[in-house]
Structure formats: structure tokens, C-alpha cells
Amino acid sequence: MKHFVPTALVLSLSFACQGTIMDQPEDLGVGEGPGAVPFRPVAPETPVVRRLNAREYRHTMRDLFDIDTTALQLPNDQGTGGTFDTDGSSLGLALGDFELYYEASDAIARFILGNGHAPVPMCEETEGEALHACVAENLAGFLERAFRQPADSNVIAQTLMLTESDTTYEEVTRSIVLSTLISPYFIFHYKTPAVERANGVGVYEMADRLSYFLWSSMPDDELRGLAEDGTLNDPAVLAQQAQRLLTDPRSERFFSEFMTQWLGISEFYRAGDEEDRSLFADMEEETRRFALRILRADEPLARLMDSPESVLNERLAEHYEVEWPAGDEEWRLVTMPPERRGLLAQGSLLAARSLAGDSNPFLRGAWTAETILCVETPPPPPVPPLDENMGQVETVRELVERHRADPECGSCHRRFDYLGLALEEFDNYGRYRDVYDFGLPVDASGVLPDGRRFDNLAGLAEHLGEESSFTSCVAELLSTYALGRNIHGAHAEGIFHSLDLDANARLSDVVLSIISHEEFTGAP
């Protein structure tokens, strides 16, 4: 008997892959055993230099001058091709962007004078020739902090030249701040090639990478001091500093931004009426709190996949039909029912990857493959009209399997269909179901590429939590975030295999592995 299959799902197949499949590199490892993580090809000579993104700029102003620059307009960080806002390929500079930096610098220069945060405070009471002599003697210290490394003599001389016609401390301060904040030495992160380095600048650049990785801001005095005396080159010292930065409150910036950008939490499509949008906002908050709790506690990253708990408010507890525990807090740690495990069972991910009327296994599967397992899912090629026989399928699973049976579609879809089908236990609002609206039972069982079977999402989550593919994916993404460029292909292999990560790796393990790699340290 023919059953109604959601029209939306059938229609979505018309956008599934048909026609010529693009050639795929052989190392795309589909169904080739655990830990086989396909990589994207890497561009040769990927640039390293990138500018501060807006977040980093504002945090740096807070740490350098103790000022809030939220109201200042800065260049747009939404360029194409980047995965994170630390990715240099998304941090281009358009015509007119320099003027934004100039105006921001000018506004900051005026503001700090009125708030007593002068860059060279020891010269505040001087004027005339004594003022200029004092500034000449003390300017280097300020520039080193702002540039995150010692300024060479030429830069110091240029800055002093710009203050020549100033006669008061206020005028001198404005000149110094303005010229410093528009300098490329302030605006950009870069890595001097080893053969070009002089005066130990490499260790300063490493300190810069470390602090912006974990604090989104400039090194503090302790870190800068260790760079200055070269001690930071000692791997043990570097690891100890990484631990210190991770436990500092400023690391919250890193945790929060990485999770938000990785999972696309802030891009949650807010469809529906006001009540829906409010519910979706709560779901976002659940995912944010859930993830931050695990990262802050430095639990194994695999807990993101298989944790039996989540952090809910009362409305979400009711929505998920979960017992609401006693307590005073608005958001509480809750033991979830057995069908819900980890991120994949959370409403923010399920609802965001659904159609307006129902779930969509293709959207969910593709997103999970790309985002959680770093499996590339190329976009479908141009499609012919919908096959009329599609209407004869009886279940969602049959529909998906018939579609995948077509070799032109299957080579891509077998990478992720099993993930989407496992999530069919949850409707477009993330509510659990074992029966579809049209009456047939939900079959969330499946087979991993390596042949292991699972009965439902909880089973899938358990498998994913036991193997290193998820942790490796997180490591790849963290590397991109930390280094400011996509790490792929043979280039990535060199990093990941040296990271020696397993399924129990914690965030601190991944961070320490990344920062000890020569890609990060800059060591030859």
C-alpha cells in the first residue's frame, strides 16, 4: 500500500545529486574504517598574515587601554571562504576599511586622554623639550606592548617624528596612539619566515598566536616577559603558559566563540512566530551552556557526543518531556532520557536543520557529516526533473535508500545518509517520536562506514564517542581557528598524526598538541 511520504522530503530529493559526480580524491576514505577522515585539498603557499578581527580588536583595546570600543565601526569580517573569524581568508580589507581604522584610532586617541589611560604616563607632567626627551626615552615600552613585539628603531623614529610639532602631552599622546593603531605592526598577525627572522622575533610571534588563540587578545605582562627572555621557547614553559591561559577567565572568549562559530549557533534560522523564535533562542542557549560546561571542566571532547546530560530551563524540560529537577537556577543540569545523547539530540541542531513542516534527513546528515565529523559533502550537481517513481516508496528510509541506490547519488549520500536517518527520531522541533505523523514507525537504525551497527541515535552517539573521528575533527577545526587558515590534506595529516589524539582527548590535550606543533611554534 502506498503511503504518504512528506512532500517536502520527496521534493528535497529533486535537489539531491544526479548527473556527473565530480571526481573525488581517493583519500576521501568513505567507509574505509574508523578514523578515516577525508581532507580537503590545500592551496599551496597559503598566506599566514591576517588582520585582527573585530572581536580581537575590541578585546585588545580593553586590555591595552581599558576602554570599551563596542560603538566603533570596524571593517567587516564576513568575507567569503573562511570557516572562523580567525581565518585570514575571511578577513579581507575593502577600499574604505583603512579609513575605519583611522577614524577608530582617532576616536580612541581622544577618548583615552579623557579617561586617564595615557600610553606614556611617566611623561605626563612634562612639556617642551623635556616632554620630547621623556617620550623618546619611554616610547619603546608602549610600542612593544601594542605591537606584541619590540618595535625596531626605524618605527620608533617614525613615531617620534610624528610628534615633533606637538607641544603638549595631550597632543603627543594623540599622535602616538593614532600612528600606533593604524600601523600594520598593530593591525596584523604574521609569522616571519624562519630564514628572515632576527632578534628572536619568532618567540614574540608565538606569544602573539598563543594569546589570541586562547584569549582573543594581546599577551599579558607575564607572557610577554617569557617571550622577551626567550624562555617561552622551552616546550615545557609553553605548555605551562597554555594551561595558565586556559584556566584564566579570559579563556571564556575562546570557549564561547569557538563553540558558537563551529556549531553555527548564531546562524540559527529563526522561522515561525514569536513563540517559536523564543523557543529556538532557548535551544541555542542550551547548546551553548552544554558545550561550555564540558570545555570549562576539560572533560573528554567525546562527551559532546555521548553525554547523558544537558543544561535546560523549565520550558525546554517541558518541551523535551523531561523531569525538571529541583533548584533555584533558571538553567539546570538535567539527566536526559535514554534516546537523547549529546549535541546531536539537542533542539538547536535538530530544528535548525529541518524544513518548515518536518525533519529533513539530508540536511541533518550532511551538516553532521561536515560539522561533526569533517567529512566533505560537496554540493549536488544540477538535477533533472523528479523521478515519478519516487512517489511509490513507502517509508522515509525506503525513499532515502532508493535514492542512494542510484550510483550517481550514492557515492556522496552514503557518506551521510546514515547520520540523517539516525536523527529521524526527532521531529522538526526536536521532539522525540517513534512514529511518524503518517502512521509508520520511525526506523533510526543504521550502519557506520566501518560496518558497526546502531539501533538509534543513542547507539550512534555511543559509537562516535568511542572513536577518534569526532575528536580528530574538533582538532582539525581548532587548528584552523588557532592558526588562522584552513588546515587540509597532506598538510593536515602531518599535524594530526603528530597530535596523537584518541577518543578520550580533552580540549587541553588538543590545545597543547596544536601549540607544540611547528606550525604553531614556527620552529624549523
Binding site: F98, Y102, A107, Q158, T159, E164, S165, L178
Partner: protein, 491 residues
């Protein structure tokens, strides 16, 4: 072979030395170039740039509630204000200012709220109890007499394209001709002849808005900015030399962005030089008949209005003045005479603007020269209003299209334009009058506000008090008004 940017860098390095020497030679302390503080427009410091005031006036009110027209609420007169749509986001409106409370000079008699003799003072006056010979200073003159708001040629100018020459119902013409008063018995004499106005402003042997020393100081500010850009460019080239080829490409983006700003800065200098030349060697925009009477012949009205607008725009651009009042005609239409024959459908009209504003009372013993056909009268009255509103929009467009004084703003950004009538709807009353405001006078005033003051008994005075405070005039009272309309002010 050197890349273009490298060649420019070489030239620029040379010019750095020249600029340094120039600044040394100047021998004065120069503040940094001041640029827009990156906070919302409304919070920008007014002290850095000139603020200008332009009041636009038309007589006889409008034929339908402007409330409805502006709000597009089923108003049959929505077409009257349609052209203002192009400035919709820049327009604030202050509605329902109760003109009957303004008793100045017997203008609006409280026993019969009929504004037949409403003159300028009814709208701009701050003192409802004034009598002839004790006319108070109007708000625009408070602004004009503040040295921060004075141009190089005149503190203010007044223009009236419909001068009255005869006493009307016992009231002397001056009260229908002069919107601005410096004090008792001191009206600001309006110009009606564009030739005379032009010569008065420009014919003083060359005048610009600033002295040579001020121009030199401004130029030095821009060149100092270029010095900062030169240093940044030099540092980019040095840093590029330390990095790989792909990284150099990334830095080139920064370089291109700096060079673009440098070009615009140089263009700004050139533009100032052009303006300086224009303002000192100005030619009259049009040849107007010399020696014409103060009363513009109707056949020259349209042309004269256009020329006068251009003169005001140029006077602002050259900073010859910063305060101007511009009346399309005096109150009551300059007598019965202004027939607006250039308005489509009014060719050969037998009645004028004022007469048609009585469209509604033909059967109540009103003006016998008005036809008894209400619909035709109202239609023609509306045509006239629309034509004059369209000229106001033309004026706004000219201000918007003209660069401001020293950065990328326009004259409209530097100006507060206040446009309206001393009468209300359905025409010829002074019950509820309105003013439309455009531009923000360099961020002093909020744009896009809708302020209804129907329960404020102080009439129009609160609005003018607000305007004075937005121009930084330290005043807490204007006529009966003791509180400004706060939502119009940004600080």
C-alpha cells in the same frame, strides 16, 4: 621593474620629507586632523563644524490635515507631500502647535479664531503679549548673533518673494514682509532682488568663509594626516619585505586601502581650492533685471525663486552666512495678488493664493471674488500648495547635492531646515500649525521624529526654544516655552 605601488611609495617617501619641512616652517602647534568620532551621527560634537539654519515659509496654510498627508492615512492630499518621500528618513515633523494661543499683535483673535491677519510673528514670535513697537527678537536672530554661527559676509539673510507694499487692515507692511526681528522696531529687511542679494554677499572684493590663516591651518591639518598615512605606508613596505609572497599580497590590500584614503584626502584639498576660487570670483548665477521693484513681477517669480535658492546654497557653501529665512511669499499671499499662474491649471486665474485659501467659506459671506464651487477652489488651492512644496523639495535636493564644508557631508547635513506656514488647515486658520524639519545641523537634531504637541499651550515657542538649544544657545525660555521638545535633540 618596480610595481606601481612601489613607485608611488618612492615618491611618497620623498613627499614625506617635503611635508615635514612644511610643517616645521609653519611654526605653529597643529592639532590632529579631526574626523568623525565613531559614535552614531547624533552624538557628533557640533563644535567642530558649522551649523546652519534655513527657515522656509509659505502662507495660507494647507487644504487638509498635514497629519494625514504625512502619515498617508487615507488622505486625499497625500500627493501634496509625496515628493518629500525622498527625504522621508531625514524629516521630523512637529504637529498641532496651537496657534490660537499666540495673540501677538492681534493676529489671532481669541474671540474668533481666524487668522486672517496672521503674519510672521504669529509663527516665529516667542512673546504672545507683544505689541507694536515692542517686537521681541526672533529665535533665528539669537542664533545669528552668536559668533559661532556667523558667516563672513552677513550674520543672516532674509528673502521674501512676495513683498507687501501697502498697509493691510491697519497693519503695516513690515509685519508681512519681515520674518526676522532683532528687537523692537528692528526688522531684518528681506531681499526680493537676487541681484542685490548677490552683490551684497559676494561683491565685497572676494570673500570666503574663512580667513587666509584659517585656510592655511586647514590645509596643514590635511597634510599632517597625509604624513601619518605616509608612515603607515612605509611600515607596510618594510613588513612586506620580511614576509612570503602570498603574505605580501594580503598586505597589499591594506596598502591599497590607505592609498585610496590618501587620494580622497588630496581630492578634498583640491575641492577646497575650487570652492575658494568660486567664492572669490563668483559670477552672478543669472542676469536679473536691474532696478526692479521690491515686488517681483509675477512673470519672473519662478526664475527668481530658483536663483534665490542657488544664492543661498552658494552663500552657505562659501560660508558667507549661516542663517537664512526664505519666504515664498508674505503672509496672506502678499495681498491678493500672487496668483501663481505658472501652476498647471491656474493659467488665467482670477484669484490669488489668499483668495483661494478661502475656498471653504464662499457661502458664509466670505470673499465675493471666490467662486462658490468648493471643489474647484480646493483643487486649485491644493495645486498651488503642491507646487510650492515641490520647490521646497528642490531646495532640499540642492542642499543635499552640495558638499559640506570640510568632509564628506553635504550642506543638508550641516543645516536644520524648518519648513511650514503660519496658518493651518483647512487653510486660513491658526488652530493647529505644523513645521517640517530636515537635516540635523551636524547631528544636533534627531531626524525622523514625529512630535505631536496638541496639548501644549505654549504654541510654536517650544519648537523654537528647541532649535535655539540645538544650536547651543544658552536659553531656558522663549516666550511662554520653558521646556524644549527633547525628542528632537540628540544631547
Amino acid at each position: 621593474m618596480k610595481k606601481e605601488s612601489e613607485k608611488k611609495a618612492h615618491c611618497r617617501r620623498t613627499s614625506v620629507l617635503n611635508r615635514r619641512n612644511f610643517l616645521r616652517g609653519l611654526g605653529v602647534s597643529i592639532a590632529l586632523p579631526t574626523f568623525v568620532s565613531l559614535v552614531p551621527r547624533g552624538a557628533r560634537a557640533q563644535g567642530d563644524r558649522p551649523q546652519r539654519l534655513l527657515t522656509l515659509y509659505h502662507p495660507n496654510g494647507m487644504p487638509k490635515s498635514l497629519d494625514e498627508a504625512i502619515r498617508r492615512e487615507s488622505s486625499i492630499d497625500a500627493d501634496l507631500t509625496a515628493r518629500f518621500d525622498s527625504f522621508a528618513d531625514r524629516m521630523s515633523i512637529v504637529r498641532n502647535m496651537n496657534g490660537t494661543e499666540v495673540k501677538a499683535l492681534n493676529v489671532c483673535r481669541t474671540t474668533t479664531p481666524h487668522a486672517h491677519m496672521a503674519n510672521f510673528l504669529a509663527l516665529y514670535n516667542g512673546d504672545p503679549l507683544a505689541v507694536y513697537g515692542e517686537e521681541p527678537r526672533t529665535f533665528d536672530q539669537y542664533i545669528a548673533e552668536d559668533e559661532r554661527h556667523q558667516g563672513s559676509a552677513r550674520n543672516s539673510i532674509a528673502i521674501n518673494l512676495g513683498i507687501k507694499t501697502q498697509t493691510h487692515q491697519g497693519v503695516e507692511p513690515v509685519y508681512f514682509n519681515s520674518p526676522s526681528w532683532k528687537g523692537p522696531g528692528q526688522p531684518v529687511t528681506p531681499f526680493a532682488d537676487p541681484r542685490r542679494l548677490f552683490d551684497d554677499l559676494f561683491g565685497r572684493g572676494g570673500a570666503t568663509g574663512t580667513s587666509p590663516a584659517e585656510e592655511a591651518a586647514r590645509r596643514a591639518l590635511v597634510q599632517r594626516k597625509q604624513l601619518f598615512l605616509d608612515v603607515a605606508i612605509d611600515q607596510i613596505h618594510t613588513l612586506k619585505g620580511r614576509l612570503g609572497s602570498e603574505d605580501q599580497i594580503r598586505l597589499d590590500e591594506y596598502l591599497t586601502s590607505i592609498e585610496e584614503l590618501d587620494r580622497r584626502t588630496q581630492a578634498l584639498l583640491s575641492e577646497r581650492e575650487e570652492i575658494e576660487a568660486m567664492c572669490t570670483n563668483a559670477d552672478a548665477p543669472v542676469e536679473v533685471i536691474a532696478g526692479q521693484s521690491v515686488r517681483i513681477p509675477q512673470e519672473l517669480y519662478v526664475e527668481t525663486m530658483d536663483v534665490m535658492q542657488d544664492i543661498v546654497v552658494r552663500a552657505f557653501q562659501c560660508d558667507l552666512t549661516r542663517v537664512a529665512t526664505f519666504a515664498h511669499c508674505g503672509p496672506a499671499g502678499g495681498g491678493y495678488g500672487l496668483r501663481n499662474p505658472w501652476v498647471e491649471g491656474l493659467e488665467g486665474a482670477t484669484d490669488g493664493w489668499h483668495g483661494l485659501s478661502h475656498w471653504f467659506d464662499a457661502t458664509s459671506g466670505g470673499d465675493p471674488r471666490v467662486s462658490t464651487n468648493f471643489e474647484l477652489n480646493r483643487r486649485d488651492f491644493k495645486r498651488i500648495i503642491k507646487w510650492h512644496y515641490d520647490r521646497m523639495v528642490d531646495f532640499l535636493a540642492k542642499l543635499e547635492a552640495t558638499p559640506g564644508t570640510w568632509d564628506n557631508d553635504s550642506l543638508l547635513d550641516e543645516t536644520l531646515v524648518a519648513a511650514g506656514s503660519s496658518m493651518d488647515y483647512p487653510g486660513h486658520g491658526c488652530g493647529m500649525v505644523h513645521q517640517m524639519l530636515f537635516g540635523g545641523a551636524n547631528g544636533a537634531f534627531q531626524e525622523g521624529q514625529d512630535v505631536d504637541v496638541r496639548f501644549d499651550s505654549a504654541g510654536t515657542a517650544p519648537l523654537w526654544l528647541t532649535v535655539m538649544q540645538g544650536f547651543g544657545i544658552d536659553v531656558e525660555r522663549y516666550g511662554p516655552a520653558t521646556r524644549p521638545l527633547d525628542t528632537l535633540l540628540t544631547s
